[in-house]
Structure formats: C-alpha cells, structure tokens
Symmetry: C2
Subunit: 318 residues, 2 copies
C-alpha cells in the first residue's frame, strides 16, 4: 500500500484543524482574518529536531511547543491569536501514527488558544524534522507593545516564578531540567491586556532573562541594576540558591523560558501588578531602567555583581 500523497495527508490530518478563511487548505493561499479597529502582528519561529527538541520527543508536545513559542511572542506584543501557518519538513522515516499525534497536539492547542490553522506547506527533507510556524495576532490599533519602548525610570518586571519546580540540590535541579525539557511553555496570553494598558516595552524571554533583558534595554539606550533578591523565585528555587549560590547563573541565564519581561512606568506599576494578579499571572519587579549602554548588572542577595559565562542562549550559535 502506498503512502499518502501530500494532498491526502493534508486532507486527513490538517484540514480538520483549518479555520474558516483557509479554504479547507485547498487553495494556493488563505485569507488572513482581520478585526476592525485592530492591527495585525505577525511572528515566525522555526524549530529543528536535534536543536530545539529531541528527535525522539513525542509528536504531540513537539507540535504544541512549536505553536506555543510563537504564541509567546504574540503575548509579549499584547496581541490576541488570529491563526497560524504550518511549514512542515518531514524526514523519510515519518509514520502515520506520528503524524496523527502531531496533528492532534497541534489541533488541541489551536482550539485552546483559539488560533486556527490557516495554511502551510508540507515537504520532504533528507534532514531532521523541521517545523516553521507563522502566527498572526490582533492588537487594538496603536496598542502593540514594542520591544524598544522602555524609558528611564521604568520598573522592570518578569512574569512567572523561577522555577516553580526546581528542587533543593544541583542534582535535583539537573534532573528537573531534563524533565522540564518535556514541559511545554505556557504562553502568557492572559497578561496581554495588562501589557497593552501599562507597559512601555515588552518581549518574551526565549534566550535567557539576562541576555534578553540586555537586548530590550540596549534598544532604548538603557541599562539596569537587577537584584536577584527581587526575582520572583519559587520556594524551591530559593532553597536551591541558598544551598548553591552558583545556581543563580543557571536560573537567570538559562534559555527556553517563555516568560515576559517588560518595562512599566512608575505611575502604572500598581495598576499593572493588580491587573496581572487578576489575570492570574505572577509578576515580579526586578529593577529599574536607567540611561547607560552597559549590559544590566545582576546582583545576588548580598549585593555582589554576578558574572554570566553564557549571558544569552542562542540556538543559532554553532
């Protein structure tokens, strides 16, 4: 029995995920849904087996992570998901059960995040599985939160706790890290209204907090003193740090966070914190933006400056 053609595969696994403007994935192109009074923002993340996930990871979580890293970018911009395109390069050893699992994972998240499939392309690759997702979001006109908008005096916030499940020893921490690899990023979409209402600047942390904060501030000619003691650490992470202060580097500079870092003017901080609380997203103030072109300095609980061997995790670096 032959393997399904591209058209058969699309009809079987991906057409059920398609939004109403996608022509059941049977046209050369799709309409992009537009919302009156809104602007459309667009983002694209590419993921490669062996680089961004392991080839043997289960297909559902691979699919979900691929979509969620894009949704995390939309969240940082204050944009509500509109839909996405899927580019899928499949290696020769793909199987139908694998593809079924992939489509189910993708469809589950598309439903949860109200972000339908609009179209895409499926090709064969002699290399590793490669996934390229383009996601669209809607922002009320003029309200997109830029990466470059921080102002001197803005308070800097980071979402989430670092790390909710980290344990009390390095060995446990490393084990937890291995498990976390399989954990899916939680795009902070519930924070988007608070960001639009109050933040001057925002980005999603995907290459480690230290490096990404430096990027955001550099765009505005700013720097900061960041106090590790202000970081929203979980109890377990705090305990781990107390035992092994060197872990602070791992905690602050580790990649793959998918939290939001943002800059909020002092007059809006109370409202931002209150709106974030209502949205159910923990946020912690970690410092204040000041003019300067040096990278932000991170200080531990005793006020000592921390040095990062690896200030920013770059998937690209080779």
């Amino acid at each position: 029995m032959g393997r399904p053609s591209e058209d058969e595969l699309i009809a079987a696994y991906f057409a059920p995920l398609a939004g109403p403007s996608a022509f059941a994935l049977r046209d050369d192109a799709a309409f992009l849904p537009q919302r009156p009074g809104h602007e459309t923002v667009v983002t694209k993340d590419m993921l490669v087996a062996g680089v961004h996930f392991f080839e043997r990871d289960p297909p559902g979580p691979i699919a979900r992570k691929s979509l969620r890293v894009n949704l995390s970018d939309l969240a940082a911009k204050g944009a509500e998901p509109l839909g996405f395109l899927l580019g899928l390069a499949l290696p020769g050893n793909w199987t139908e059960p694998w593809l079924k699992g992939f489509a189910e994972g993708l469809g589950g998240d598309a439903a949860v995040y109200n972000c339908p499939l609009l179209g895409g392309d499926t090709v064969r690759t002699p290399g590793p599985l490669t996934i390229s997702i383009t996601a669209f979001g809607a922002v009320p006109a003029g309200q997109m939160v830029p990466r470059a908008g921080a102002k001197p005096g803005d308070r800097l916030y980071v979402s989430g706790t670092r790390k909710p499940d980290w344990a009390a020893s390095l060995a446990q921490l490393e084990r937890a890290y291995l498990v976390e690899r399989y954990l899916l990023p939680q795009p902070r979409l519930r924070l988007m209204e608070a960001l639009r209402a109050h933040a001057h600047a925002s980005m999603d942390v995907s290459d480690g907090l230290a490096g990404d904060l430096a990027k955001m501030l550099r765009l505005a000619g700013l720097t900061a003193e960041v106090s590790a003691s202000g970081m929203p650490l979980s109890e377990a992470a705090r305990k781990a740090l107390a035992h092994s202060p060197a872990l602070v580097e791992t905690i602050l500079a580790g990649g793959d966070d998918y939290e939001i870092v943002c800059a909020v003017p002092p007059s809006r901080c109370a409202a931002f914190e209150s709106d974030a609380k209502v949205a159910g997203v923990p946020v912690g103030a970690i410092g204040t933006a000041v003019p300067g072109d040096a990278p932000p300095v991170f200080r531990d609980e005793e006020g000592r400056a921390l040095a990062f061997a690896r200030p920013s995790f770059q998937h690209f670096q080779c």
Copy 2:
C-alpha cells in the same frame, strides 16, 4: 575570530532588507501592512536543499526562487505583494560570503517585486539548508480569485509558452531541463488584474499542468478535454513534439512551472485575452470545463488521449 551571532547576522545581512513595519527586525513580531479596502492573503512555501534545489546551487538564485514560488501563489490569487517573512535553517558549513549572496539575491527580488522583508527566524540545522517563506498580498475586498471557483462552460487558460527554450531532441530537452533548473520562475504578477477582472478560478502550476489542472477542476466537480494542439507551445517545443511525440508527457506533466492556469467564462474570454496581452503575458486557451469527476483528458494533435505515467509531480512523495 568567532562567527557572528544570530543578532549580528540579522543586523548585517537582513535588516537592510526590512520594510518600515518590521522594526528593523529587532522586535518579537512585525506589523503587517494593511491596505484600506483590501483583504490580506497569505501563502507559505518551504524549500529544502536536495529536494527543491541542489545544495551547490548559487545562493542568490536559491533565495530568489524561494521568494518567487510564493509570489507565484500570490499572482494566481490576483494579490499584490505586501511583504514576506523568512525562516532560514542554516547547516553548520554556512559561510559569510554564502549568506551575503543569499541576502543580495533576496534583497534584489524584494526590491523588484516591492515585497519587503518583515521578519523571520534564523536557526541552525544539523540537516540541509531549509528555507520557509511566508508571503503576504493585498487583494481588493471580495476579488481574490479562488482555486475552487470554476464553472461549467468556462474556458481554461494557461500562461506562458511550453517551453520557450526547449530544443528539438530528447537529449537536448534533458540538457535544457538541467539548465532550466537554474532558471528562475517568473511570477506572473502582471496577470493579476486580468485574473481579478475575469477569472472564476485560478491556481499556480507548481506540480505539473496535468495534475494541477485536475486539482482545480476536481474542486468544482468539473473535468475537461484538453487539446495539446491548443497549448501555447514555443516554436522549439512544437518542433520537439513533432520529432518525438512522447515528449508531450514531459511537457504537460513536468513540475516546477510557475505558470497560471485559470478558468474564464466565455463572455469574458476576449477581454481576458486582451488584458493579458496588454500585461505582456502570453496565455493560451487549452479547453473547456464540463461537469464530471474524471481527471481531464489530454489529447495530442491527432486527437489521441495521452496517458501520463506521472500525472503530478509531488515534491513530498517519498
């Protein structure tokens, strides 16, 4: 000396290609330019070294082809290019001269087709070079030309001549094919107004005329008798066919065409042909759509039905 980081690479090679809504490629997302009274259509094509082009092809043409296959989809929908996103997975052996050539080719076509870079993602891959482009186009509201809109009685047209440079023997034809691999598709954007004004249905031919025409008609419950004698053959191709009638299969079913096939109601044929002529795009009427669910029958100059060993070229099939 270290290799440039992803950020340095983007700043050096891709930021100069960026459109005004792309934030110099330094944000998590970009605005999608919107045109009042227009709808936005979106398309995505993925290309893999060793599948869609050869790894040793020069970088400029690889970049241009990757953009043009997407522009060809926009052309078929009657959409004017607005911009594109670039997903680029680079193998470990990339060099800066290669990347410079790639960016120059891409920038050249972005300028020619008025289609600026809006954003994207650059990652490392242990596999082959993989390019995923998402292109956006604007169509006056309600005027997108669908793939599924053909009606019984519509005349079927194909753009271009098949093939301008094909020669008089199979050996020559094969040599020409090898050369043609390097030739770049010419997206038929100049045909877009004629398509919007007159066509019921349209698609771009990327998997061979025979298979793609079958796809377009099947969506509308139609079929057709296609006369090879009505095909807009170049003089060279006509000569080749006269010598080797078996070549008709190669000519009709070959992939990678990037011409437009469309369905035009009889009352609009004269206007369509005239508008296409003004636009400088050759079009030829090849048959008439009739109800039926069989694949279209192609007949040679003596009226014999042609059988295609490979009705549609699918890059995906493995």
